[in-house]
């Protein structure tokens, strides 16, 4: 698929970037061509974001140089990069939520004019909007927009400034499959116009479908570059992780034991006081994984929270091994044996400023040997932490590192390590592999599988259908807080799941419901 019109726009030469204790980029060379989409691939913490931040002027490299159209350039700030036509859409959007779309776009214009020129700018936004088929309302406030729309604003902003090199950091991680397809079309359109596009992604399918070229980073170094047409998913995964990756886990047949977690007609409200869960009844047996599918915001988070004691149950009952645990406190939930892997890693799962060791012991600290009466035994705590760091291969293996400095994959390993050691029978896992590379994803799923093997009941909440299909024994679909159906994985097709996700209960899967709810 090599484009004859492609010319090299940017050359990175020997880029090196150090952070305290990590070599994030190690003498990386990279050529970026016009008319092309380049995919940057690599494990969590491989240094992809860092490399692109260097190119976007956000980080100062410790070594190496950047050539723009053959000329040496130095960026001291994002401002310099922007002035040279290089723009980046960050993993966490860089938008000011309290301002409107138009205002956010004006902000990034390097103009010293006093007047806002709102009308002219709105007109130009509409023009671009049409040209690239990216509908955005210039008067909407950012906080009113969906994630997909916010992303359009980010891209629009780069286009508005006339960026020739566009970098997108994990753009599809937050998009629905439909939105991702639309994005792909927009990117292709821009590449055909002569822009150079770089996307970072963990989804190998997207690399194969989106890109013209792939470059793989591992542990800060460039490992390989391919023409996308001349490689395969398997080869990419192997290069990236350094070993063969299993896309299919061997699953043993599910031998469900007795019902462990049981919900009966549970109802709950969301933050706005509106019903989030409506008469939810289901059960999860010993040694079983129940996957919960659904479009984001249909009650999944609330479901996880009522079970782990973080949200009040308005009506109905939650039972664990027959014991009523409705509206127990989070501490009681922990004591009963419920482990919660929350979807919001930094907000709920971790204390970002505390070291790895303290985060790991956040559940175990209440008991011996870590606690001795009133006091903590720091030595025991270190031993405990080092043990888990080793078992779960958390990098960097330094217990003193603050959790916020870990890459996404390692933050997730940390949470898994803590929750699985505390596990006594029930795990609630929310988006356990979101944002993780193929290797880390595989290890998370394997870990959950091992737990199932040992008789744990697992409730897996995920927006990734592939994940649900791969590891669940049964699937339940939520829509607007209601159960659309529960089925054995083998009995249901993707189309049927999609229908239910869109709000259509299917008769043939519903017969299970009352039985589940009423049988004691």
């Amino acid at each position: 698929m090599e484009n004859p019109k492609a010319t090299t726009v940017v050359q990175l030469k020997g880029i090196t970037k150090k952070f305290p204790g990590v070599l994030a980029n190690d003498r990386v060379d990279l050529d970026i061509n016009s008319h092309e989409i380049l995919a940057l691939l690599g494990e969590n913490g491989a240094g992809k974001t860092t490399l692109m931040n260097v190119l976007a002027g956000l980080y100062n490299p410790d070594g190496g140089e950047i050539l723009l159209n053959g000329k040496l350039v130095q960026f001291h700030s994002p401002r310099d990069a922007i002035a040279n036509g290089i723009g980046m859409v960050h993993q966490h959007f860089m938008l000011v939520e309290s301002l409107t779309v138009a205002e956010n776009i004006i902000l990034s214009l390097q103009s010293n004019a006093l007047s806002l020129n709102l009308d002219r700018i709105k007109k130009e936004i509409s023009g671009l909007s049409k040209k690239y088929q990216m509908p955005v309302d210039p008067d909407a406030y950012i906080w009113q927009l969906s994630v997909g729309e916010q992303q359009r604003v980010e891209i629009m902003r780069l286009l508005y400034r006339g960026a020739d090199v566009l970098i997108l950091d994990e753009p599809t991680a937050v998009l629905t499959p439909n939105e991702a397809t639309e994005l792909a079309a927009v990117l292709r359109h821009m590449a055909n116009e002569g822009k150079a596009i770089i996307i970072i992604t963990h989804k190998l399918n997207e690399v194969m479908n989106f890109s013209d070229r792939v470059t793989i980073l591992r542990a800060g170094q460039k490992i390989a570059s391919f023409l996308t047409a001349k490689t395969s998913k398997e080869e990419l995964a192997r290069k990236m992780v350094g070993r063969k990756v299993l896309f299919h886990l061997e699953r043993s047949a599910c031998v469900p034991g007795k019902a462990v977690l049981k919900l009966e007609n549970v109802e709950a409200l969301n933050e706005k006081g509106l019903p989030a869960l409506r008469s939810i009844s289901f059960q999860v047996c010993c040694g079983e994984i129940l996957g919960v599918a659904g479009v984001a915001g249909n009650g999944q988070r609330e479901l996880a929270e009522v079970i782990s004691g973080l949200r009040t149950v308005k009506k109905g009952k939650i039972l664990i091994n027959g014991e009523d645990v409705t509206n127990c406190t989070p501490l009681q939930a922990i004591d009963i044996g419920i482990s919660h892997i929350p979807g919001d890693r930094l907000g709920v799962g971790l204390a970002p400023n505390l070291p790895i060791s303290d985060n790991l012991t956040m559940k175990a600290y209440r008991e011996r040997p870590i606690t001795r009466g009133f006091f903590l035994d720091r030595d025991q705590l270190q031993v405990f932490a080092k043990n888990l760091i080793q078992t779960f291969a958390i990098t960097p293996p330094v217990p003193e590192t603050p959790a916020r400095l870990l890459s996404g994959g390692n933050q997730q390993r940390l949470i898994l390590a803590r929750e699985i050691t505390a596990n006594q029978g029930v795990i609630i896992a929310v988006h356990p592999s979101r944002g993780l590379d193929v290797g880390a994803t595989e290890s998370v799923r394997k870990t959950l599988f091992e737990q199932r093997e040992q008789g744990t009941s697992i409730l897996l909440i995920s927006e990734d259908l592939e994940e649900i299909l791969q590891i669940s024994d049964r699937i339940m679909v939520l829509y607007e807080g209601k159960i659309m159906g529960i089925a054995e994985v083998a009995d249901i097709t993707v189309d049927e799941i999609s229908l239910m996700m869109a709000g259509q209960p299917l008769e043939k899967f519903n017969h299970e419901l009352p039985a589940d709810g009423l049988k004691t």
Partner: protein, 318 residues
């Protein structure tokens, strides 16, 4: 109640509200850039002391005002240097500024008079009230609003200007963005540190002018603890104003009004103890703060700049 009475109440209301408004506007602009400056009380009293001394010795109120501007910018620069460059805790730096400012100003008050004596009782040239042509002829409103000193007239201009700047111009937009999301602002090519320096200094200048209006306009003289907690009230007013310069006017008038009322009641010889009357503005501050916070929380929009009080470091993850 006759007109003369209403007019006299209004006049005091405005005169008492002026220094509060200067200080509130200054703090609004500082906080909009994401910097919390709890040094208002200290900067204000330093402005009052230095401007009074300068006016006394140069025999020129304008030179007094200019001194307040210089002192304000120096203190603003110090706060900006500590919090932006050295990333010191903003609360600690601000409190230090207040403690340092009140101490130094009180010392100056005792020593800056002729022959190292006290400044209390000295008379300096001051900003006198003068009728503003034409407009002062409007009934009631005219004598109340347009027979004031130059610093008050200047405010009439400043408030709409600041409002327009904040909401209708590009630099104003950038200012709002810096306080909301410095990381995003940086990635859009805005110089975060420079804006924070600029608006901390600008804010401190206004705060210092607030002090100058106390000693050269409203009270016309030096007194120990001349600010009497007005700096703290201004900080509360910023919240009352929800960081909007126009709403700050409302707050300043309200508090000026309470001052005027307290004045009047004392003059009329009420039986309410004076110390209780003196407490009124502070009690009212607390009440207003509680109500506002409740109300805004109820509306789910507190409106504080999201990054207020947080240092920003580019290469630090957050």
């Amino acid at each position: 109640m006759d007109n003369a009475f209403i007019i006299s109440i209004l006049i005091i209301t405005i005169r008492a509200g002026t220094s509060l408004l200067y200080a509130t506007l200054g703090e609004i602009f500082t906080e909009r850039a994401g910097i919390l400056n709890l040094g208002v009380e200290g900067i204000m009293i330093m402005g009052a002391a230095t401007s009074f001394a300068a006016a006394y010795y140069t025999d020129d109120a304008w030179l007094g005002l200019a001194t307040a501007v210089v002192i304000g910018s120096i203190l603003g620069l110090v706060h900006a240097f500590l919090t932006v460059t050295l990333r010191a805790d903003q609360v600690v730096s601000g409190l230090a500024m207040t403690i340092f400012g009140t101490g130094l100003a009180s010392f100056m008050g005792q020593r800056l008079g002729p022959g190292r004596t006290t400044m209390i009782g000295l008379q300096s040239p001051s900003f006198e009230r003068f009728p503003f042509p034409v407009l002062n002829k409007i009934p009631i409103f005219g004598p109340a609003f347009f027979e004031q000193d130059i610093l008050v007239y200047f405010l009439y201009l400043l408030v709409p200007l600041l409002w327009f700047f904040l909401y209708k111009t590009r630099p104003g937009l950038k200012l709002r963005a810096v306080g909301e999301n410095p990381r995003a602002s940086d990635s859009m090519g805005i110089n975060v540190a420079r804006s924070r320096y600029l608006y901390t200094i600008f804010g401190a200048i206004l705060i210092s002018i607030a002090g100058a209006h106390l000693s050269l306009g409203y009270l016309q003289g030096w007194a120990e603890n001349i600010t009497g907690g007005r700096g703290w009230i201004a900080i509360a007013l910023v919240i009352f104003a929800t960081w909007n310069p126009v709403r700050a006017v409302l707050g300043a008038l309200l508090f000026g009004g309470i001052n005027a009322l307290q004045f009047r009641m004392q003059a009329a010889g009420t039986t309410i103890p004076a110390s209780f009357l003196n407490m009124m503005p502070y009690i009212f501050t607390i009440v207003v703060l509680v109500i506002i916070t409740w109300w805004e929380a109820f509306l789910k929009r507190i409106g504080a700049p999201a990054a207020l009080g947080l240092p920003y470091v580019r290469e630090e993850k957050d």
